[in-house]
Amino acid sequence: MTSFVQGRRLTIALTGEIDHHRAAEVMQTIGQKIAEYLPKVCVLDFRDVTFMDSSGIAVVIRAHRRMHELDGTVLLRNIPPQPWKVLHAAGVERIAEVERSVPV
């Protein structure tokens, strides 16, 4: 997973299939990067996510908790239709800002 920082904004590009098999590793990476850069906004970019199940919801909740501790927020961006359906079913809009600009 690649990431970059602009000012106080940390962007992490998630990739591949986010399921239970990979969730722990993804959570750990996000947690480490947040701890390293202490951003105000953590952007999770879903452009290259090819599949996501409810394990991904727990990933977003964890990121939200970390950012909340820092008085910051989470922004989800470029969410393809399949992950979006899962995130929306869980009402993710209540804990993260959502920017959806991916063509279906």
């Binding site: 299939e17 399921d19 599949f51 199940d53 409810s54 727990a58 909740i61 399949q82 079913a89």
Partner: protein, 147 residues
């Protein structure tokens, strides 16, 4: 009774690396119903939820057996049952409530809610100490194309 037009049986050990394999195998089996991307995504998500539950909850401290049975029924219906011989569920209606989880904070408690809303029907039977079977059906819209 609907006629079974095709079927598949798949047995796998409850290793997390098999999550990806099992949902892909079911998707490949369903392909001859000519599902849309959205239908395929729904099916893969529901299978992933059920198989993950076997791995995480049914067999928390051991590698057990997961049986996946798929049928294509007349009328473009995909019928999937996912069975484990693990610990079973004591209170099913409680377990199926949104956000209810006995797992760690790596779980969200949304698995059953997603299976229920992404599939046409969901039926769960379980017995403590014996195991759990998740039975789901999904009607695939016939787009009138020749196969």
């Amino acid at each position: 009774m609907k006629k079974t037009e095709n079927y598949m049986l798949l047995e796998i050990p409850s290793r997390s690396a098999n999550e990806s394999f099992s949902r892909s195998a079911v998707a490949a089996f369903a392909a001859r119903l000519d599902p849309t991307m959205e239908e395929l995504g729904d099916i893969k998500t529901a299978v992933s939820e059920a198989v993950t539950n076997c791995i995480v909850h049914a067999y928390p401290n051991e590698i057990g057996v997961i049986q996946i049975k798929c049928k294509i029924l007349s009328g473009n219906v995909l019928d999937i049952s996912i069975k484990d011989h693990g610990c079973g569920i004591e209170d099913l209606s409680k377990a199926m409530r949104p956000l209810y989880t006995t797992g760690s904070d790596e779980r969200s408690g949304m698995g059953f809610t997603i299976m229920e809303s992404f599939m046409t029907s969901l039926k769960v039977t379980s017995k403590v100490g014996k195991g759990t079977t998740v039975h789901m059906k999904r009607k695939i819209v016939d787009r009138g194309e020749k196969r």
